[in-house]
């Protein structure tokens, strides 16, 4: 799968807390990370991927260009609410895992997106810091590229026309059966040489005096 990561600017996390961030002894439980695209481009998002660092819940809001409204002004919509990244905010499970949020998980279609806002929540006071790392936005592959069709394409029998079989088996069923067997033999052929031989010596020699520190 080609990596369609869009270049974007990820701003540093901004804490949301009541009171003065500098003098308050308790740590913030909410951070907001804004992601913007250069030159104000509008993106059709396929996937948002990131590495978690102790964030418990994630909310995603998108700023979409509204084609309907006059002047094309943008509006904010919530596309993901309270998505859990850690099974329990107090324990380590999921705390350093890699995640992807896909289009089909979102409440609204992420088309014509000009800005993405990630709202991170960590209600547990057990952790000193929490954030998301390595945030990438992947866009959908463009499917409107037109290429010239070769001439012989038009000479093929259309699928809906049933050919005259004359007692022979249906080519579709034969083709699918043979294709499966062929795929299996291909796999067997390519994997044959990967079987380990099992010898640990090099040319019958295995003299070791020192272990390496990597």
């Amino acid at each position: 799968m080609t990596d369609n990561a869009v270049p974007c600017t990820v701003k540093s996390p901004v804490p949301l807390q009541i009171g003065d961030a500098k003098t308050d002894t308790s740590r913030p439980g909410v951070y907001v990370i804004d992601v913007t695209f250069p030159h104000g481009q509008a993106v059709k998002i396929r996937e948002i991927s990131f590495k978690n660092y102790y964030t418990a819940f994630l909310m995603v809001r998108l700023q979409k260009k509204d084609p309907g409204s006059p002047g094309g002004c943008a509006r904010w919509v919530t596309c993901l609410k309270n998505h859990p990244l850690m099974s329990s905010p107090h324990t380590e499970e999921g705390s350093q895992d890699y995640f992807s949020i896909y289009r089909h998980q979102m409440l609204v279609d992420p088309d014509d997106v000009t800005s993405v806002r990630l709202i991170l929540r960590q209600p547990s006071s057990a952790w000193l810091n929490f954030t998301l790392e390595d945030i990438r936005i992947h866009q959908c592959a463009s499917d409107d590229s037109e290429r010239d069709m070769p001439a012989w394409f038009s000479q093929l029998t259309p699928v809906d026309q049933v050919p005259d079989l004359q007692g022979l088996p249906n080519p579709q069923t034969v083709a699918s059966s043979i294709q499966q067997m062929w795929a299996l033999t291909e796999v067997m052929q390519t994997n044959q040489t990967a079987a380990p031989i099992g010898r640990f010596d090099v040319d019958g020699c295995y003299d070791v005096n020192l272990l390496s520190y990597t």
């Binding site: 107090h90 380590e92 350093q96 810091n129 099992g198 090099v202 020192l210």
Partner: protein, 526 residues
């Protein structure tokens, strides 16, 4: 094969089938291609005919078992962006701790080799090879001078490393809070509490029959035991790994246990396995490793001194020395947080310079390692079958007991689970022991690291290991450790030192495992 797709998610099942092809499913390919040449196979229904042929000859079941085995060891499919080390262990600070620990072991091995003037590995002279071959089945009669060798580490050294494990992102300020760790383990892993355990171990509940309880002589056998044995024979005749695993949750009858475990672990004693074992034996004869001395020392110190296991001393050498030469074990490092030690080797010509793994299987034995093999000697008489069952048990379960990882069956999780169970359900006992300087984990750790081998009576130990296989998890070790403390709570409340607590818990050989587990899980008032 379509049935397999129904059982398992497609990507994992396909990965498992691909792996089966590479792990020498030679005669499966041959019989498949022979089948295709038969005249009754028609092209239109090729798929159906091949499928029926596989079912009739029992190959479908074998393939199912093989895929089931792969699914047990394959890690969960990971994110595309996750590097391989993340699959081995997702938490960065644990990877770092494991790497430090491994470096300590390497240094210890290197200095042992230098101080004693013994090379880490060398080719045996021909005369020595002949002597060893002659004495192969009675290596216990050798009396090598092992006085200068010391084990690379003992469980208590490993416990010190685990107690010093710290997450740099954890708030460990001095204020006591509900999340303070009063025990030795200071990391916040996800562990099950008793309500979750009751659900997970539901087959052990009070209303279900158990071997280890309901096969006692005071109960009539037709209450549970004879039906269970009949069911066991049926499971064996079907040769279904998944069914055998489910069956094992209520215990395996003594007469069927060896076959059932081999079925669950998908270990056969085919000519290929015997040949593989002979190849390893040749590796032992040809090359002498320093770790061999460590194995000898360990067997002499532990199994040879044990009333139950001293008779199997020769078998232990035959298995463990071959185990050290088995490069197939290296595969488990793909899903273990550990990394094998490496060394530089030169070919005979002296020109090639390659990197090899030392020992060839990448596993450095520690004090008590031979106790993982000893109980299996009661089940398997053929060294090659004993070997393949032990190897499979190691690469599925035992490796997690001596490496630092966040896995739910890993030793760190087991220790934390044990401490949490005690704190929540026996708070007075926990507090008392902590105040008298007898942190409970200091006593229970050695039990869990060895999976209770050498501490329980053998029949009880095998009943415990039935459940490890049945539930594919080692959490039962933590539950049993807590149950033992609960059982001896009255005596423990009167101790005033760690030594006295150790004395109370020194002898577990009279304990009955299944009643203890059942009472702790299902009859304790929450």
């Amino acid at each position: 094969m379509a049935a397999l797709w129904d059982l398992f998610p497609p990507t994992r099942a396909w990965g498992s089938v691909q792996r089966c092809h590479t792990t020498g499913f030679g005669h499966f390919h041959r019989s498949k291609s022979e089948c295709l040449h038969r005249p009754e196979i028609r092209i239109e229904c090729l798929k159906e005919d091949v499928r029926n042929f596989l079912k009739k000859t029992g190959w479908e079941r074998k393939l199912q078992n093989a895929v089931y085995r792969e699914l047990h060891v394959l890690p969960q499919p990971s994110h595309a962006a996750a590097p391989p080390e993340h699959t081995k262990e997702p938490l960065a600070y644990m990877r770092k701790a494991q790497a430090c620990w491994e470096k300590r072991i390497l240094k210890s091995l290197n200095s042992m080799s230098t101080e004693l003037g013994v090379p880490l590995a060398r080719k045996r002279p021909v005369r020595e090879q002949k002597e060893l071959l002659q004495k192969w089945s009675e290596m216990g009669t050798n009396e090598p001078d092992l006085s200068h060798f010391r084990p690379v580490y003992a469980p208590k050294d490993f416990l010190e490393v685990l107690t010093s494990l710290r997450n740099p992102n954890l708030d460990s300020s001095d204020e006591a809070s509900c999340r303070s760790h009063l025990g030795l383990i200071q990391v916040s892993l996800n562990v099950k509490d008793i309500p979750e355990m009751r659900e997970f171990f539901c087959e052990l509940s009070l209303e279900k029959g158990q071997l280890g309880i309901d096969d006692h002589t005071s109960f009539p056998p037709d209450l549970f035991e004879s039906d269970h044995i009949c069911l066991g024979k049926k499971v064996l005749s079907e040769q279904d790994s998944a069914a055998a695993q489910q069956y094992s949750r209520q215990g395996c009858p003594t007469g069927l246990r060896a076959h059932l475990w081999a079925l669950i672990l998908n270990c056969s004693n085919d000519p290929e396995d015997v040949m593989h074992y002979e190849q390893l034996k040749a590796g032992v004869i040809n090359h002498d490793l320093l770790v061999d001395n460590l194995i000898y020392k360990d067997v002499k110190l532990t199994a040879s001194n044990d009333d139950y296991y001293f008779v199997f001393e020769d078998y232990l050498y035959q298995v463990l020395l071959c185990f050290s030469r088995d490069t197939a074990v290296l595969e488990h490092f793909n899903y273990s947080s550990a990394t094998p030690p490496t060394c530089h080797t030169k070919g005979q010509s002296g020109a090639e310079d390659g990197t090899s793994v030392y020992p060839p299987n990448g596993v450095v034995p520690f004090h008590g390692f031979s106790m993982y093999v000893a109980p299996l000697c009661f089940l398997y008489k053929e060294p090659s079958q004993l070997y393949s069952v032990f190897r499979e048990m190691y690469v599925r379960y035992f490796f997690r007991l001596h490496s630092i990882s966040s896995s739910p069956s890993g030793i760190v999780s087991l220790c934390l689970q044990f401490e949490k169970l005690l704190q929540v359900y026996l708070p007075q006992l926990f507090y008392h022991l902590r105040e008298t300087g007898a942190q409970p984990l200091r006593i229970a750790f050695k039990w869990m690291v060895r999976a209770f081998s050498g501490y329980l009576a053998t029949d009880q130990l095998l009943l415990l290991w039935d459940r490890i296989l049945g539930y594919d998890s080692m959490e039962i070790l933590a539950v049993l450790a807590a149950a033992v403390f609960a059982f001896r709570a009255e005596n423990l409340m009167e101790v005033t030192s760690l030594a006295a607590a150790e004395a109370v818990l020194a002898d577990l050989s009279t304990l009955k495992v299944m009643p203890l587990l059942q009472i702790f899980l299902f009859a304790t008032v929450i």
